[in-house]
Amino acid sequence: MAGFSKLAKVESKLLLRDPGAIFSMAIPLFILVIFSGGAGPGDTALPSMSMTIAVGLVGLYMVPTTLATYRERGILRRLSTTPVSPGALLGVQLMLQLVFAVLASAVLVAVSVVIFQAAPPARVVAMATAFLLGTSAIFAVGLLIAATAANGRAANGIGVLLYFPLAFLGGLMQPKEAMPELLAAIGEFTPLGLFRQAVHDAWSGAATQPLLLAIMAVYALVIGLVSARCFRWA
């Protein structure tokens, strides 16, 4: 256990030293600042989008890049010669990335509400539920990239390549209403689209759509299991 907490401490320092962390915080904040002029007071759509961008960057960019780099550099392999298993490192990483996603989202909520007069989240528990399920689904995709990419750079490339179409389909590039109908319909069922919609529902006080939550849970479970099955440690 001593090893575990030290591992968490060192890994969190490394996470904060990663330029990707600054990137994942700065981009959604930037979007929020740039576009908030167009959003009226009480708006919750733009803040939900910026939160989705943040979690998407952490899950599709930071998670796979970090884990695949650890494998590529033989760090997971080296760990398996010590009393601490590489699985522990994987667990610590996912936990820290989750914490980071929560903190980034909290900053975005605070900035939206305090500076840009967004409405405060209407239903906090529903929002936390949507956040957790959606983040799990997005992280599962990141884990799948980490599991299958040959190395850190490939993981990075796949993550970025996947990010843009998913962000487009998820309604992060333009409002859903402005998208071609078919794409908008498909986009509703992509991880980022589900996350954005479910968080937006809770934030604005609209009724919870259990179907969205269920699909996110299925994504998290199925994709998570598949990536656990095909995860290579070396």
């Binding site: 090893g3 010669t81 010590t82």
Partner: protein
């Protein structure tokens, strides 16, 4: 009791065995060398002993434990330096040592290791900024931080300059003096000659010889050469009849005497008796290189990767 026992180890990739019925044992407190050209199966063998790879057949015991089944327990008692492994770019030297120390039941004081391995002034440096030699020394320190009974060091001095190599060798001798058993994978002949109590010579997945470096060298059944420049003319017949001398040839103003056993002593006393002064007298000793050629029929460093 042997600290490591390997019996009939076989490891295949595809249909081809890359380690083929290898057996050896390592005694408490020795530095055991594993020597061989690229691709001989050295890393595969030690990584089976470290529990990183599963043997296809054969048995391995390290400190009486099975590396695969008892991996967790064994990991407290062995230290490992992998041939190919890095750390995160942004981790600081002290953080890496502190972290790895926290994994073990009874770790060493990592501050002492830091000083011992010449990294004290790099304490705050990030891994990515270290030189190759500094990285290598950090890996050795990490292998020792758990205070292991057995240390596996794969390509110990790769990337070190000659001075750093010497320093490292002295430190390895100190590890042995402290009672740690060391398995040293190397393809450097001089390193093995300098450090190892016994050496297993690997070639194409098999052990072709296992002995002390001195015995391996003296077992080479080939002529040795003695060269000199005579300062006065003399007749070759003075030397050709001597015991052990195989041939006498001249090349310019040099004389080259080929022979076996203690022929050099006979040659020099015969020259002295006939009052032939010589200059630039050289005996070319056999080295482990010659031993390797004699064992495999091939030169050591002409191996393809």
């Amino acid at each position: 009791m042997a600290v490591i026992e390997v019996n009939d180890l076989v490891k295949r990739y595809g249909r081809l065995p890359v380690v083929n019925e290898v057996s050896f044992s390592v005694e408490q407190g020795e530095i055991f060398g594993i020597l061989g050209p690229n691709g001989a199966g050295k890393t595969t063998t030690v990584e089976c002993a470290e529990g990183l790879r599963r043997p296809d057949s054969g048995s391995i015991r390290v400190l009486g434990l099975d590396p695969v089944r008892d991996g967790r327990e064994l990991s407290h008692q062995v230290g490992v330096q992998l041939q190919e492994s890095l750390l995160p770019e942004n981790i600081k030297v002290w953080e890496a040592l502190d972290l790895y120390a926290s994994f073990y039941r009874a770790p060493k004081d990592w501050r002492e290791l830091l000083a011992e391995w010449g990294l004290a002034d790099k304490r705050q440096a990030r891994f990515g900024t270290l030189s190759g030699g500094q990285k290598q020394r950090l890996f050795i320190a990490l292998a020792l931080v758990g205070d292991p009974k057995v240390a596996f060091l794969d390509e110990l001095t790769t990337g070190l300059d000659p001075a750093a190599r010497r320093v490292t060798w002295e430190l390895i001798k100190r590890i042995r003096a402290a009672g740690v058993t060391v398995v040293l994978v190397s393809h450097s002949m001089d390193e093995v000659e300098e450090l190892c109590d016994r050496v297993a010579v690997f070639d194409r997945g098999r052990i072709v010889a296992l002995d002390t470096p001195a015995n391996l060298i003296s077992a080479v059944d080939a002529d040795q050469h003695l060269r000199f420049r005579p300062l006065t003319p003399f007749d070759d017949a003075v030397l050709t009849g001597l015991p052990g001398v195989v041939s006498v040839t001249r090349s310019g103003d040099r004389v080259i005497v080929a022979g076996r056993g203690d022929f050099a002593g006979a040659v020099t006393s015969a020259l002295a008796r006939d009052h032939v002064p010589v200059a630039e007298l050289r005996v070319e000793q056999h080295t482990l290189d010659d031993a390797f050629i004699a064992l495999t029929g091939r030169a050591f460093d002409t191996q393809e990767r």
